[in-house]
Symmetry: C2
Subunit: 238 residues, 2 copies
């Protein structure tokens, strides 16, 4: 933290990291990512060159200044989650933290999305970040499912599904220019994963007890007698 | 194609592209990826510097010389697939093409896997390639499901699941040093996705009619009266 000239001209105490990220982003929009140097950024922020590298390992990191803390939040969230909770619900909650980071600053998120589309190096950086979120979620699920035969496989597949659903809704929202309720859209998308994998997750549970389970599908318009017939035959012959 | 000295010393006609990739890979193993220059590679292959860039845009591309043709094969495979086939089956078939590329040359694949673990630039490159496969599969599913409300979302989630399952089995095989039957392992992993999403794919069908469906789960030991009670309340209140 230090006294720094805010880039909008108003003197104001702001964390150096934010000041640098803001200066960097303005320059990327003005001149393009490739043509902006770290020297340009520190000159705009009014600080020395070494300050930049104290906060960001690279220019790319300054474009995504909040992912590191979001990853830390996600890890903390997963560590704190009770094992009583449905594991798929928990990782969906973890993914929601990422969404909230984007939704907290729609204008910045939308501008950054457009910038990222244009700069291959930023797209690659983003892929690496997304992969880190996915690995964090998969690590949690692997631990929760470590006694299942296919636990590790299922953990990776479900984590990838959660990330894909989250990204689909997030991308739609970003493409629209940040219109509408992003959190609601992501919840809707995650619901697909929860519905499908929540069932898959529950499936091995009955095997632990000695009880058998019968699943019946009936058309709502069907007469009651027919449904009872189905039930009886399922309970008898299954 | 041209006469080129094979890196093992025996003179033999081999496609220039292969000769370059082989020379590059040997040098990467000997000296490390970062410390090998394009000049080293062309010297080892006995060709001019411009030949390298005629075949590979970058050093990274020479590490993964077959992904471009595999992506083309995948696209061709998906284009040729009948719309009568289960869409999830088709994309699983597409993923199998990638596995076959790795399995065709276990020793090279295992060595490359180890090299990739050590070089961040290669890991990033690999992420980009994986993403391209995923997008290719998702594009196919989107087309197949373009009339479903959540078709685009489902397409991305299923493509991500297929890729995650494929990669889980592939990685396990690579880590083991290429032991066992990789194709069988990938088939087993993909089976999880087919089982779960094959059902999910069929699910929207009833919505096309006006009939509503009730799904009930009952414990086999439950008394009949209780099951009927459940059925009745589901049919009434749902």
């Amino acid at each position: 933290m230090s006294e720094a000239r805010e880039v909008d001209g108003a003197p104001k105490k702001a964390p150096m990291r934010e000041v640098l990220a803001k200066a960097a982003f303005q320059l990327f929009l003005e001149r393009g990512f490739e043509r902006t140097t770290v020297d340009d950024i520190v000159a705009r922020a009014g600080v020395g060159r070494r300050s930049f590298f104290r906060y960001f390992p690279s220019k790319e990191d300054a474009v995504f200044p909040d992912h590191e803390s979001c990853l830390a939040d996600m890890t903390g969230f997963l560590d704190a989650a009770s094992d009583e909770r449905d594991a798929v619900d928990v990782v969906c909650g973890g993914a929601r933290l990422v969404l909230r980071m984007y939704a907290a600053n729609p204008e910045f998120s939308v501008q950054r999305y457009r910038l990222t589309r244009e700069v291959p190096g930023l797209r690659t950086y983003e892929l690496s970040v997304v992969r880190r979120y996915e690995r964090t979620l998969a690590g949690y699920l692997r631990r929760r499912w470590d006694r299942a035969d296919d636990g590790a496989l299922r953990a990776e597949v479900v984590a990838a599904s959660v990330v894909a659903a989250h990204n689909n809704a997030l991308r739609t929202w970003l493409r629209s220019g940040g219109e509408g309720d992003a959190e609601q859209a992501v919840d809707r998308a995650l619901e697909l994963v929860r519905r499908v994998w929540g069932e898959a997750e529950a499936a091995p549970a009955p095997a632990a007890t000695d009880e058998e389970v019968v699943v019946m599908v009936a058309t709502k318009g069907a007469p009651m007698w027919r449904v009872i017939q189905q039930v009886e035959s399922a309970l008898r012959n299954d």
